[in-house]
């Protein structure tokens, strides 16, 4: 195809070079730089940074430090969001995909588009629309509750409603993506398998359990992992919808990291917290992969 010469190798390297430069500048160096920051007392406004070794990490595990407090409180709140949202993102996403694939062909494209449209708007639009729907006094939903003589609900200022509101808005916003991925997977399940099992007298539910689910398992693993990662990174919804409230009940870890970095200006602490958060995310992804392998 081409001669294996120096010149050929140089030409080929030029293909990879632009990406490599960006990769090094905006990913590789920041990773090292971030680790370096986490070993320093690093005030955003002070050009002098003192090396403190592992002290920033020790603070995370020292229960008398406020860093310990905001890290674990934020982590706990993030975990809550992950636990509420991920199963729904999977089940509702799969449910919608099953619905779409079973509709008459002419209608399925239309409904797929309708369910997918919210995915194209940004988080600030999502937050504002839902704030307006859920407003305690003038929100559409509470007005209907009043009309039906039901007690109004403090959707954004009380628990568990604040979490319910955040999760519902998130589902509305992002479910279309998981749905599309599941639709693709469902379309690839072999028709022969379904036919064979129908002949064997399997009902709809049995076909779903014994044929559909095993056939879409790789997709399931992909969706579980990407949904978990996305839910860990939640920021805009609680930031804009509940301000982390009531109190700090919906203040997620990422909000605390951003606060520590830009309001307290302690980038060393914030960098250590970021690395710990990333480490936890990696461990969870690996565990999810391992669990899915074992069930093979």
């Amino acid at each position: 195809m081409y001669k294996n010469t120096m010149k050929s190798k140089i030409t080929s390297s030029l293909f990879v070079l632009p990406y490599l430069v960006l990769f090094i500048t905006f990913l590789f160096i920041p990773i090292l730089y971030g680790a370096w920051m986490s070993f320093h007392e690093w005030d955003l406004l002070n050009p002098e940074h003192t090396f403190v070794g592992l002290e920033n990490y020790m603070k995370i595990f020292d229960s008398s430090s406020y860093i310990n407090n905001i890290f674990f409180e934020g982590l706990f709140n993030t975990f809550q969001f992950v636990i509420y949202s991920v199963p729904l993102l999977i089940i509702v996403g799969l449910g919608l995909a099953l619905l779409i694939t079973n509709l008459p062909r002419k209608l399925s494209g239309l409904f797929r588009t309708v369910y997918f449209i919210p995915y194209s708007v940004s988080v600030s639009v999502v937050a504002i629309i839902w704030l307006w729907l859920l407003d305690t006094n003038s929100g559409l939903i509470n007005q209907y509750l009043m009309k039906l003589n039901l007690p109004i609900i403090p959707w954004l200022t009380d628990l568990p409603w604040a979490w319910i509101s955040i999760v519902v808005a998130t589902l509305w916003w992002t479910i279309g993506f998981n749905m599309v991925i599941f639709i693709n997977a469902l379309n690839e399940v072999s028709e022969d398998l379904y036919e064979a099992s129908s002949l064997d007298g399997a009902n709809r539910w049995q076909r779903f359990i014994h044929i559909t689910l095993p056939s879409i398992k790789p997709t399931m693993v992909f969706v579980v992992i990407t949904s978990t990662i996305a839910s860990f990174n939640v920021y805009g919804q609680p930031y804009l919808m509940t301000r982390g409230g009531p109190g700090t009940e919906t203040k997620v870890l990422l909000m605390n990291i951003v606060d520590e970095a830009f309001n307290q200006r302690q980038l060393g602490n914030a960098a250590a917290m970021s690395l710990m958060m990333a480490l936890i995310m990696i461990v969870i992804s690996v565990v999810q992969l391992k669990i899915s392998d074992r069930k093979e």
Partner: protein, 276 residues
């Protein structure tokens, strides 16, 4: 096998769910044509009693506080520039790694693909410091460049190029084409659906991003529309729901239009690229 009754129930269910998906958007549009006063008055009014475009006039006329067109232009510019940059570097790198005699090819490929498992939160603060050190906060550079180091596109295209039939390239080489010509004339055109998918993914990521523009820009004229909305919600429009809804309606139009135009290739691409 499928009974007619079952299909009918499914269609009814689909319509109900569609209404749930559409209602929030409808309520936003309806509110945007009400006066602030009417919006606040309790009572469920699906349509404005007095239909007014004053909110739209206000956000477009009030250039100092809500430079909506500037925000939209910023978002579109940043989204398009970022997407073109990603497409340029990712297609080249993916092809080089999939097909050409790049030194340390295996190592580079596994480093790039391995980088997909690194949560972005690791690079968030150091990237901020990097741009701060070079005085590039509050510029287009900080809003565009960081998205380019994502290996997702390289990975997608690498998979695609690996499965591309070699014979077509070999024929072109025999005709005397060089690597660039083969890449541009033979390989790239075939990858169009995958490239479209990557383009839509990337554009939506950049256009809709919130946290990064929030911390890296500060002047009103550098805001993206996503951030502009958030700022207005907490600031001047705190008690102007109708104006806020006009602003979000404006912001939604280009994204939804682009999405409806692009969704066919997006959905096809998701299938072809084997995200599953």
């Amino acid at each position: 096998m499928e009974s007619k009754g079952f299909k009918t129930i499914l269609v009814i269910l689909a319509v109900i769910i569609a209404l749930i998906f559409i209602t929030p958007v409808f309520w936003m549009l309806s509110t945007s044509f009400k006066s602030d006063q009417e919006a606040f008055t309790a009572g469920i009014k699906w349509l404005p009693q007095v239909f007014t475009a004053e909110n739209y006039q206000y956000i477009f006329a009030n250039d100092g506080d809500t430079p909506v067109l500037k925000w939209m232009t910023n978002s579109l510019f940043v989204g398009i520039a970022g997407t073109l940059l990603v497409l340029f570097v990712d297609t080249l790198a993916a092809y080089g790694l999939a097909r050409l005699d790049v030194p340390f090819k295996k190592t580079l490929t596994s480093i790039f693909i391995g980088s997909l498992t690194i949560p972005w939160v690791i690079t968030f603060l150091p990237l901020y410091m990097e741009f701060r050190t070079f005085g590039l906060l509050d510029t287009y550079a900080v809003l565009i460049l960081p998205y380019s180091a994502n290996a997702f596109g390289v990975f997608l295209l690498y998979q695609y190029f690996r499965s591309f039939p070699k014979e077509l390239e070999e024929a072109a080489y025999l005709d005397g084409a060089n690597k660039w010509q083969v890449f541009l004339k033979v390989v790239l055109p075939s990858a169009r659906p995958v490239i479209w998918t990557l383009a839509i993914f990337t554009f939506m990521t950049i256009y809709n991003d919130f946290l990064w523009p929030l911390v890296t820009t500060s002047s009103p004229e550098m805001r993206t529309i996503t951030m502009g909305i958030a700022v207005m919600q907490q600031g001047s429009f705190v008690s102007s729901p109708a104006k806020l809804m006009a602003l979000t309606s404006i912001a939604t139009i280009p994204a939804v239009l682009l999405f409806i135009i692009g969704q066919r290739s997006f959905i096809k691409g998701v299938t072809q690229t084997g995200i599953k």
